[in-house]
């Protein structure tokens, strides 16, 4: 029984340039107490998938269809008031850019204490105690003074720690980390990731780690889903995928991965460019870039099928 089961999620943006099919039928599951990675090139819909699960898609965006089953409840169907109780408390999210993700006019202590105050009705004193504990948990020294700081005096790494303290404040079961380190410099990146893993182990929660970087997947991930053009094209255990990548796109991504430089390595080079999300190619959306593409690839969209146990792929080469 997975913790989160996303099925056929479709989220489109109705812009004046046309309909952006940001997520177009993505399916995957996240198990309890695992690190689930979501990888793919920029613009393939990773962030929008995460925001759709949190139901934080605002006009002109719209979640058209699909399910996101969490503890047997469909997050996409429940009323907004129920969803509010889940956000921040059951599922929370750390964003890509810690510079702008904190409110400039409130102290970090206030911002960290907000969610527990609202979700658990804590008194001022209890909330303050919890806040300083959380600040210590994310390894910021001198918690009592730091709590009174405004975000702009903190460095990027400190802000991301603050963000984590904020999102962990109600002990969520699932933390979505959307490229939590891309905007930080390399040494800080490693610290933040180590902290994330340490907290994950301590609290036994699940993490969806969104990243460009297959090196990180290899180092930290339990399972991984590869996204392309708003769809999940391959999904399985990290070891399985590295040992036996099936989808031509996954193979392309892994091909140029240098061994030994795990954290620094970027995705491999694949000929062609990412198609515009406004008019995605017919059939298998990877066909213009795929060396194995056939006629039926242009006509019919491949379905996600289980090739071996717990290893799914969406490609005509593997359909039986």
């Amino acid at each position: 029984m997975p913790l989160l089961d996303v099925k056929g999620l479709k989220t489109y943006f109705y812009t004046n340039r046309g309909v952006v099919k940001a997520v177009d039928g993505a399916s995957f599951t996240v198990n309890e107490n695992e690190i689930f990675c979501l990888v793919g090139e920029t613009g393939c819909g990773k962030s929008v998938t995460a925001l759709s699960i949190m139901r934080l898609i605002f006009p002109p965006g719209k979640i058209l269809s699909g399910k996101a089953l969490y503890k047997e409840e469909d997050l996409l169907k429940i009323p907004e008031s129920e969803m509010q109780k889940i956000r921040g408390r059951e599922i929370s999210m750390v964003f890509q850019n810690p510079m702008n993700s904190l409110n400039p006019v409130f102290t970090i202590g206030y911002q960290i204490s907000e969610a527990p105050t609202v979700h658990f009705n804590l008194s001022k004193k209890e909330a303050w105690k919890r806040t300083t504990d959380l600040i210590r948990d994310v390894k910021i020294t001198d918690a009592d003074t730091r709590a009174k700081c405004y975000p702009h005096v903190l460095s990027g790494g400190m802000r991301q720690r603050t963000m984590m303290a904020m999102m962990l404040s109600c002990n969520p079961n699932l933390l979505i980390a959307d490229e939590p380190t891309t905007s930080l410099d390399v040494t800080i990146q490693a610290q933040i990731l180590d902290l994330l893993i340490e907290i994950k182990k301590k609290r036994r929660m699940s993490v969806i780690l969104i990243t460009h970087n297959f090196g990180l997947v290899a180092e930290f991930g339990d399972r991984v889903a590869v996204m392309y053009c708003g769809k999940v094209v391959e999904i399985g255990d990290v070891t399985t995928i590295f040992r036996n990548p099936l989808h031509p796109y996954t193979r392309g991504l892994l091909r140029c991965l240098p061994i030994g430089y795990k954290r620094k390595s970027k995705l491999g080079f694949i000929p062609g460019t990412l198609p515009s999300p406004i008019d995605t190619p017919s059939g298998c959306s990877f066909h213009p870039r795929c060396e194995h593409s056939t006629k039926s690839c242009k006509l019919r969209e491949p379905e996600l099928v289980e090739y071996e146990k717990n290893h799914f792929v969406a490609c005509h080469l593997y359909e039986r």
């Binding site: 929370s92 993700s101 409110n103 006019v105 907000e114 609202v118 405004y150 005096v153």
Partner: protein, 310 residues
């Protein structure tokens, strides 16, 4: 912080001095001889020269200026050419009605403009937004003398429910206040709509949603607190504008304030009065600007500590 305030005050004083110099030079360029204003018509030339000497108008301009300035500094604004009364007496009795008019209108504009702008932004693209934006554009672009006349026509002459001029009852304040308020409501609402829309798109608002905060908390704490900073600053920056705007409105409604006095003095070339009123507005502008700066530093921690917004 204290050094910063001192610096602002010194700069402010210099600005006011510069304004008075320009003003003095400008007055010299105006057509007409003030002595004829003082003396009235049909006065023998000998008498004219005597008056010119006794009022110090025969001296070079820079001496006249220093003479005037040295008196202003100790609170003596000179004597009106026309009424021969001390200008301070004339002007100071007019300040209170003008401040009553302008402050009432500013406070009303602020109180009404903020929610209108916020609602328009939160309902962006919906009917409410179009209606409110229409209202904003309508009054924002309307000249105040015309608006004043229209209000007078509708409420005073056709409906006969409000007095059209003077200041004899609190009722007679309604139309002048409305004339000044409607365009500035529009100004505040416009600013607030833009600011709210901008804040709505900020990443930290998404963070607030992701924490599971209820919508009213996001709107009234996270968004409002940020979007209010420019509007509050605007309150002070706008004060001198409204006082200047009151000139026309007071003239239209024969409202006995500083603006009306200014209007009449211009017609009569009563230079000392004109100079004094412009001086008061210049000082007011400088003081409001300093207040606006201090207030935004107080409201925005990025300015408060860093010294300047990056």
């Amino acid at each position: 912080m204290i050094r910063y305030v001192l610096k602002r005050i010194i700069i402010g004083v210099l600005v006011v001095v510069a304004v008075t110099i320009l003003l003095f030079l400008f007055m010299q360029l105006l057509p007409g001889d003030p002595v004829t204003m003082i003396a009235g018509e049909r006065v023998p030339p000998a008498k004219i020269e005597e008056i010119r000497r006794s009022w110090g108008l025969d001296k070079p301009v820079y001496l006249q200026y220093f003479y005037w300035l040295s008196h202003v500094v100790v609170g003596d604004l000179g004597v009106s050419y026309v009424t021969k009364l001390p200008v301070s007496l004339l002007v100071f009795s007019r300040i209170a009605p003008t401040l009553q008019l302008t402050l009432t209108s500013l406070v009303l504009s602020f109180i009404m403009g903020i929610p209108i702008g916020m609602v328009a932004a939160l309902k962006r693209g919906e009917g409410v937004d179009h209606a409110l934006t229409g209202f904003i554009t309508f009054f924002y672009s309307m000249p105040s003398y015309w608006l004043g006349l229209m209000l007078m026509l509708i409420f005073g002459l056709y409906l006969k429910i409000l007095p059209v001029s003077g200041s004899f009852s609190s009722q007679s304040l309604i139309l002048p206040v409305a004339t000044l308020t409607l365009p500035s409501v529009a100004t505040f609402a416009r600013l607030m709509r833009t600011e709210t829309l901008e804040t709505l798109g900020e990443d930290f608002v998404r963070t607030a949603w992701a924490k599971g905060l209820p919508m009213r908390r996001i709107i009234f704490i996270h968004i409002l607190r940020n979007a209010l900073i420019p509007a509050t600053t605007m309150f002070f920056l706008y004060l001198p504008w409204v006082v200047s705007g009151a000139v026309i409105v007071e003239a239209v409604f024969a409202y006995p304030g500083m603006g009306q006095l200014f209007y009449k003095s211009v017609l009569r070339q009563d230079y000392p009065v004109i100079q004094s009123i412009i001086l008061i507005i210049a000082v007011l502008t400088v003081v409001s600007n300093i207040l606006a700066d201090l207030l935004s530093a107080f409201l925005d921690p990025r300015i408060r500590i860093g010294g300047r917004r990056e």
